[in-house]
């Protein structure tokens, strides 16, 4: 349902490095999937990757592929130039359909308040940075800008 976006490689953008407990997340992203975890004891999903459930404390946690659908929870439109990023850049927190929230960028949209109403429906896509693919989000009806 999602495909890795090739091109747009920007080697000077910040490239994160996985730790053992987050490696499956980054491996999935490289394969074009947004994988997050769910507790198999209390059934609640969570983000960011951890080895125990932040809700009930259980170590019975499992990975699953999220739908990639999300809504715009909050954001700023940053005018501070970051290496490799366009100015302005939309720095957002999105709420995944499954519930957890994550920080991301909103791409393929006019970086204006008018084009970015809260709760805007979004879909994940992946931005390649060297060996790493970073999840970013675009409006589901991203064509009409």
């Amino acid at each position: 349902m999602t495909s890795p976006q090739s091109g747009g490689s920007a080697p000077d953008k910040f490239v994160p490095k996985a730790t053992p407990e987050t490696q499956p997340y980054w491996d999935a992203a490289a394969a074009g999937r947004l994988d997050i975890q769910r507790c198999t004891a209390c059934e609640r999903p969570f983000f960011y990757p951890r080895t125990s459930c932040p809700h009930c404390g259980s170590e019975k946690v499992a990975w699953f592929t999220a739908s990639g659908r999300a809504t715009l929870y909050s954001y700023v439109i940053s005018e501070r130039p970051a290496p490799g990023f366009p100015t302005p850049t939309v720095i957002a927190t999105v709420e995944l359909e499954e519930g957890p929230r994550m920080m991301t960028n909103i791409v393929d949209v006019d970086p204006t308040p008018e084009a970015l109403p809260l709760d805007l429906p979004l879909q994940v896509r992946f931005e390649q940075r060297g060996e790493v693919a970073v999840p970013v989000f675009a409006p589901i009806d991203g064509g009409d800008r």
Partner: protein
């Protein structure tokens, strides 16, 4: 007013800032600590050899500061949870003094935030949770992260962008009265909204300063202070609280409320045996203009969605019924990076009656500190005498 325990048994007996705050390229981070420490020791009427406790954040750390001053501490606190840390140091010092672990705890802050003299480079991690899940998105420090919750806050509470700007307007009214403040020119809402955009909805005038400076406090038992101190008014530590939630702003449970503001203030109110209506003077850590709005609502000074109108109507301005951030705050007075110490210093000055913009009759003052990007918080309720 008081609980079972006499809550005037631990006091701030000495307080001082560096001789200057602002742009100080001739002073290192360590010197900003030690200069303010020496001033606070003198303000307390003590000598360095009477100090047996040292508390400060991890850089340069309590051992370095103590050694530079020629103090051999037998109580140490290196709690380092952002700009509110100094409020936690006071809280821990109260407990330590009650436990008999120390007679006098010196709490020090110094930060070459602007000039970066003797300061470590900003850490460049690539595999911390923050590095993996926030830094890949073009974030450039607090103006682009701490600010992210604001649009959701405004949307859900009904507070407005103009009211957000009113926070900066109100604080200029205070800094205009403070000769030490970096920005002293009064501004209007249009000036704030029309200033250079930093990260929508935040313009430059809604963001804190970046300065150099330091401050220090001497905390002791009332008994010790009365036996060894000066005849300056003592400041009682009536109640304290601390709490923390998330190291990443994107992981706030609810971006319209800061849970640790509520948790830490509730503990402080309970310990002090007072409520919001007993507070004569308020300091809320204002790294950015939205933080005081959260603080007013989350501590219960106003109802949900009422903070913006409260500030806009002038209640926190000079002459208002709840004077807030009377030094001009991080937005206009000074903000070295870890501002909490300066909020405490202004509370102490107001309680002693020696503030630049002195409010009449301040008997009880509350200081709310923020650490990180809505990461941690602490509350101090301080009383005159």
């Amino acid at each position: 007013m008081s609980g079972q325990r006499n809550n005037r048994d631990v006091v701030i007996m000495g307080a001082a800032e560096t001789d200057e705050v602002g742009k100080l390229p001739h002073l290192s981070t360590l010197e900003l600590h030690t200069q303010s420490a020496r001033r606070a020791i003198a303000d307390a009427g003590l000598t360095k050899d009477q100090i047996d406790g040292l508390a400060t954040v991890s850089t340069p750390g309590p051992v370095q500061v103590a050694h530079a001053l020629g103090i051999t501490p037998t109580y140490l606190d290196g709690t380092s949870v952002g700009g509110t840390s100094f409020l936690l140091h006071v809280r821990h010092a109260v407990a330590a003094i009650r436990a008999g672990y120390a007679d006098v705890v010196l709490v020090t802050h110094g930060e070459s935030g602007r000039s970066r003299v003797g300061a470590p480079p900003y850490p460049r991690q690539s595999d911390s949770p923050l590095a993996q899940f926030e830094m890949p998105y073009g974030v450039m420090g607090p103006p682009t992260t701490f600010t992210v919750p604001t649009l959701r806050f405004l949307h859900e509470t009904g507070n407005t962008l103009e009211q957000l700007a009113e926070v900066a307007v109100a604080q200029r009214r205070w800094s205009a009265r403070n000769p030490r403040a970096m920005f002293r020119e009064e501004v209007g809402v249009d000036d704030v909204l029309g200033a250079r955009m930093v990260a929508y909805p935040f313009t430059l005038l809604m963001c804190c300063l970046v300065t150099d400076g330091g401050g220090a406090l001497a905390v002791a038992s009332r008994e010790f202070a009365e036996a060894h101190g000066t005849d300056k008014p003592l400041v009682s530590v009536l109640g304290t609280g601390e709490a923390a939630t998330t190291p990443m702003v994107s992981q706030m449970e609810d971006m319209t409320t800061c849970r640790q503001f509520t948790l830490s203030s509730q503990r402080a109110f309970k310990e002090a045996g007072v409520g919001t209506t007993d507070i004569d003077h308020l300091m809320i850590y204002d790294a950015f203009a939205h933080v005081p709005l959260y603080g007013l609502e989350d501590m219960g000074f106003v109802g949900r969605g009422e903070s913006g109108a409260f500030v806009a109507e002038g209640h926190t301005s000079p002459g208002g019924r709840l004077p807030m951030n009377t030094n001009g705050g991080g937005l206009s007075y000074t903000h070295t990076g870890m501002y909490g110490m300066f909020a405490i210093q202004e509370s102490v000055r107001q309680l002693r009656g020696e503030a630049a913009a002195q409010v009449d009759g301040v008997e009880t003052s509350l200081v709310l500190g923020n650490g990180g990007m809505f990461m941690s918080a602490a509350t101090l309720i301080l009383g005159r005498g």
